[in-house]
Symmetry: C2
Subunit: 460 residues, 2 copies
């Protein structure tokens, strides 16, 4: 089992059983010490691999589901701290273009084609892809949020869903996002939470940001917003209105409500004292694949943010930029790019990187008391990974293998809230072929941009 402490080195604990009851981790104990409700196996010397014994509900009156984890490493489910899940429908449809071209010529025109039914299919496909890759929780930001919430409820994942809001959509749309929050926050046995989702300071005016922040405080919700996505946006904000995007979040009460900020590559030195004031409730999601792909520099100033106490988490962004929803890929890129960014190969260690993607992701969604580590009292979001493949062997250090060798395809079994969503590579809550067939009937229409419309124009 991978132990992810709040500080210091992650550890590999061998031959542990994880006992789950009512969706919660009840106990973690050495294999073979399990009582009458489980079946201790002959889980002796198995080399450097962890052995996870029974996982699943136990206790009187319940059937006991024992997952034999011999030869597998149990890790906390990954958290995708920023994505737009239905954008899997546009995967690979906006390549080799500038940021402006990506928004104005490709993605925002395609998004104007989307119907609730499209989003319904896209969200389910995304959930399936995330389950397959060991992502147990995601922070989503998109249109037609009810469709996403239903996909999450149905597939068994955990998600925080922020309905995307542009000021151009008007008052009624703002009211709808609040209604969605009131209807869905805490639903699906608590697996669905809601944040309020103004798109960005350059697409939502200060009045709307204030209004939404007020609703967030009133409802006890967090905010999820793109801000200071890259340095040019910060410079543009300074030129146009004399303040940085982060200061806009401060002045409009967004930071006060508690914010998950997507990207933040344009967070500058003057922003740090501001962010420090709200450090306990502020997080930044770093999604390096899209920054590189869009030729951005600098990247999210992770070292500075962590030094101020701000939480940093790992995200994929939408698949129209990232091409996958693979958080293993994303966390590897966080490690690689952050080492280079500060010219220090000894930082963003293997342990720190895993912590970012697990505990960091949990904090970013305000779920640090529920997920992010395999400890008694935490929800049972458990991923069994197979590090026996050639690309991980010899397995000197399973932690290094997780960060630098493993692939999403090494994930074998995924448990969320104590429920098995994938078992030995077989998805249990999604009809993959039917979904894919349904998606294929929709793509030609979604990709058609001949109408000249768009959900918004990019000019930050």
């Amino acid at each position: 089992m991978l132990r992810v402490p709040s500080h210091g080195e992650c550890e590999i604990l061998r031959a542990q059983d994880i006992v789950v009851a009512d969706g919660v981790i009840e106990e973690v104990r050495p294999t073979g010490t399990l009582g009458a409700t489980g079946t201790p196996g002959p889980l002796g010397a198995s080399g450097p691999l962890d052995v996870s014994g029974p996982t699943g509900p136990s206790g009187a009156g319940h059937a006991v589901d024992v997952i034999d984890g011999r030869g597998l490493l149990a890790v906390p489910g990954l958290v995708n701290a920023h994505t737009h899940s239905p954008m899997v429908l546009m995967r690979g449809a906006a390549e080799d273009v500038t940021v402006e071209g990506w928004f104005n010529d490709r993605v925002w025109p395609m998004e104007s084609n989307l119907t609730p039914a499209d989003v319904r299919i896209g969200a389910r496909l995304a959930c399936a892809e995330m389950i397959r890759s060991g992502v147990t929780t995601f922070a989503d930001h998109y249109f037609f949020p009810e469709q996403i919430a239903e996909a999450v409820a149905e597939t068994g994942l955990r998600a925080d869903i922020a309905p995307t809001y542009f000021s151009s959509r008007g008052e009624e749309a703002l009211a709808d996002t609040v209604k969605f929050a009131e209807a869905w926050h805490g639903r699906a046995d608590g697996r669905v939470t809601v944040s309020l989702g103004p798109h960005a300071p350059y697409t939502v005016d200060d009045g709307d940001l204030r209004t939404l922040a007020g609703h967030a405080r009133r409802l006890g919700l967090r905010m999820h917003i793109h801000a200071a996505e890259h340095l040019e946006q910060t410079q543009s904000s300074l030129e146009r209105r004399g303040v940085t995007p982060i200061r806009v979040l401060h002045e409009t009460g967004v930071l006060d409500a508690g914010a998950l900020i997507a990207h933040g590559c344009g967070i500058v030195e003057q922003d740090l004292p501001l962010l420090a004031e709200y450090a306990g409730t502020t997080a930044v999601a770093c999604c390096p694949k899209v920054y590189l792909k869009h030729a951005l520099s600098p990247l999210t100033p992770v070292r500075d943010l962590l030094a101020t106490g701000v939480t940093v988490a790992v995200g994929t962004d939408g698949a129209a930029g990232h091409n996958t929803l693979d958080v293993w890929e994303a966390l590897r890129l966080v490690a690689l790019t952050q080492k280079q960014a500060v010219r220090d190969a000894t930082w963003m260690t293997v342990s720190d990187t895993l912590r970012l993607a697990m505990r960091g992701g949990a904090r970013a969604l305000g779920l640090q008391r529920e997920i992010g580590a395999l400890e008694p009292g935490m929800r049972a979001d458990i991923v069994l990974t197979d590090l026996s493949g050639l690309h991980c062997r010899p397995l000197h250090d399973p932690r290094a293998a997780l960060v630098y060798s493993a692939r999403a395809s090494d994930v074998r079994t995924v448990v969320v809230d104590g429920r098995v969503l994938m078992r030995d590579g077989r998805l249990l809550t999604v009809d993959e072929p039917a979904l894919l067939a349904e998606a294929d009937t929709r793509v030609a229409r979604i990709l058609d941009t001949s109408h000249g419309g768009a959900v918004q124009h990019y000019d930050p």
Copy 2:
């Protein structure tokens, strides 16, 4: 089938049969037009995926092996243009350290433990890993080269092997590298070629470089050498001796012999006219994962090199730095990092990236007339990839999927020189469990650095 032209966009040709005879691609033709030697299948409309029909030896007097490639995309085998294959034994054993620490505290001490038998096992493991990930050719640079050559001969891969030489090893070692070249160049039905492998200008003196370059010219071999690995090495060379590492290669005749230069992140402007003189026979292998991991900046100046006509190829370097021998991962990182490096999201396109890893790799090894594309007359090095996974769907653009979504685990079938080395995920020339078990008995000894020895000291 993926068509990789020398210039311009790569293309997806649907429903093609690839006819192979005596290890060579005889013909590529629309499915269903095959004559008496093959079995045209009902390979009709299969969506955006390519269909590759029969692959394997055909013709009178031979058994015909038909590989049903329906639903799979045939691509040219990937070329790993720079690696140290036996270093898989040290995978994950040198994390979160500086370049100096990596060499002097970890890798060079561990390498002093290696026996020929270790290298034998390591090379076979590496070959197996590369077959699994669709790498059909690699450029290796290591000690005990006979062991690697035998692994290549046995596993059926194609490789150019350069015996690593340090001047500290003395005249006899130099003579041995030449003997190895004379013995092995062109062996294994031509699948093994040899380059001469002085380690680097900072570990091999000018006299030895000259001597080796002379042997290379005499024997018609190329050179494979680390040079200008990062900018600090170039600056150090300028300070210590007033010339750049690239100029050293020029002055000692290495460039004249034809050189594959590993890394070249420290290639500076004054080097470009020099390299341009030898552009037709010079290549640089770019291995970005290790540059990021070692916190290097700048990276290989790929745009400048291509502008001079120098070939650029994609490599993984050894697994003690790269952690995998996965060229899909490496080529994706070339695209991502090069876009960022020149701040241009529209360059290093999907097509250019694939070309680098295929035709570029072939040129880098002097094999451009034999491999790098699926065309009549080329050796039959063919990889069938399965892009039907959720992480690739909907499949708007298979080329983008190859660069930004696909994983090594999507490789199903691998053919080298017309011989099937992996069939539907099953390795046919390697006993994986036996090899892994054998490797595990060796790792404790290999990782022990308590002796204080090292193969060399790093002080460029």
